[in-house]
């Protein structure tokens, strides 16, 4: 602090009860105070507006980043190359609970999908189709094991209404030999695909 500032502070400081600040202000002083008030209020308004604008800009930027992440993750990993089929589809429902996956028993679980887009295909894919997912309680990143080492994806869990980008094979039983929970077993003639790679491509409502 410079020595020359001290007197100015002392002049304008109203902290001393014996100082002139307690006296009625002159008209010049009142005008100064009014001007100061206008400046302070204006500065505050500008600051608040600026902050709000920055916040909105940051949120928009964050949303753009998030959007690109979703798009990126939907095609991450082997989804573009694994299997003979690659689709984006909506998981229609969860037909009951998954069985425990305690490390002792392993199984595949049939889920029903509504087709949204075909990216790669050898043959038609029906508008409604079925997919056998291996050990569905596990995240796709951890689903591969000694017996099915080529499985994967970034899907964390199966939730009705979510959209998945899937790399698939057909028929399921030429790619998987193990217990199959099929709660749609009474639907004759349906095709069951085998899920190799499962990525998230958007959350449901």
């Amino acid at each position: 602090m410079s020595h020359s500032e001290m007197p100015a502070m002392e002049e304008g400081d109203g902290s001393d009860p014996g100082s002139p600040a307690t006296d009625p202000p002159s008209s010049l002083a009142a005008a100064r105070l009014l001007l100061l008030g206008v400046i302070v209020v204006g500065a505050a308004a500008i600051g608040i507006a600026s902050a709000l604008r920055n916040q909105a800009t940051t949120a928009a930027a964050r949303n753009r980043v998030a959007g690109s992440e979703v798009a990126g993750s939907a095609v991450a990993g082997d989804v573009r190359t694994a299997g003979r089929f690659e689709v984006t589809a909506k998981l229609v429902e969860l037909p009951g609970d998954f069985l425990p996956n305690d490390g002792l028993y392993n199984y595949a679980f049939v889920l029903k999908y509504e087709l949204l887009e075909v990216h790669r295909s050898e043959g038609d894919v029906a508008s409604t189709f079925y997919v056998a997912h291996y050990n569905p309680r596990k995240t796709r990143a951890r689903v591969a094991d000694e017996f099915y080492s080529d499985l994967g994806g970034n899907l964390m869990r199966f939730r009705a209404g979510d959209v998945h980008r899937l790399a698939l094979e057909l028929p399921w039983d030429q790619h998987y030999i193990g217990p199959l929970v099929d709660r749609y077993h009474d639907r004759a003639g349906k095709r069951i695909y085998w899920a190799i790679w499962s990525n998230s491509a958007g959350a449901g409502p």
């Binding site: 002792l104 028993y105 392993n106 199984y107 000694e146 017996f147 039983d173 030429q174 790619h175 998987y176 030999i177 193990g178 217990p179 199959l180 929970v181 099929d182 709660r183 749609y184 077993h185 009474d186």
Partner: protein, 343 residues
Amino acid sequence: MPRISRLLILALGLAAVCLAPQQATAADDQAVESLRKEVAGKGFLVASIKQKRGDWDLVLMRPDGSEQRKLTDTPDWSEAAPRWSPEGRRLLYRRIKAASVISHDRWGFQGELVMADALARNGRVLGKHTWGCWSPDGKQISTLSLKGIEIIDLATSKVTRRLSRAGYFQQLFWSPDGKWFCGTANVGGELWTIVRMDVVTGKWNVVSRFRNCTPDWAPDSKQVIFSNRPSNQQGYGWTQLWIAPGEGSKRRMIYGEDNRHIYGGGLSPDGRYVLFTRCPKDGGGSERAGAPGGLMRLADAPIIGGNSPALRKLYPQAHQGPVLKLPDLWEPHWTYTDVTAGK
């Protein structure tokens, strides 16, 4: 009644209560000893036994668990699921890297199939040959894989026949008369179902539905022994040993015990005795260090082990034993052939 008489009656009553279990235990011990003497000289068992160093080796023993002798001693490999050929002169088993955890129900997909002499000498690796199993004449093996059921000629290593695997997914075994397969299958949306298939026609029928596995043939090829975890239990439940005719009519429990999961079911070559394992955790123990083995007479079935109050309510006529205890092991197999004879 004089006070001293009442005290005397009370004391006698208490003594009777205290002595009763001891008498029962003594009777049980006698029955077990009788069973031990009955089976001790009836051929040999071979089983996988976990070693302290981490791998599994094949161990030969008498059916009462005596005269144990290692057939393999390979720290880098586990030898698993041995089966003598029908004439008892050769042995099939799987060779799995010692670092691998052996899956109690998928072991047939692990490692490689090895054929050796009856004492596991001069082993020859046959290849992956998943779920390889002897044919009745010992000249072929059946296998189960994604390609289906294949029959392979051992002399030429050629596939002589291929069948659709239908819903089979594990534990395929060829019947001693050569007419049937049994295995664990998906049927009509229900997994872990025991299915019998006609080897010639490929037609199949359900033997037992709902939470079954590890089936094996009775020597008469008419019955299938398997593990089953029935739904009439509280909570997760306990796996029991069951038997059913191949055509899938009335099935019955052979051995059950609350707090134990019963696996590794197999019959003696004459079908009179039953081998099994009693695992405190689900699975046959292959993921850990095996499980205590047990041996009983089929004629004594059903037997309920331990206290098992809930199970005894369901089977009030069940026997308490005798069950001969065997060492901790996995997938035992029995032959009446003297595999130690000759060379």
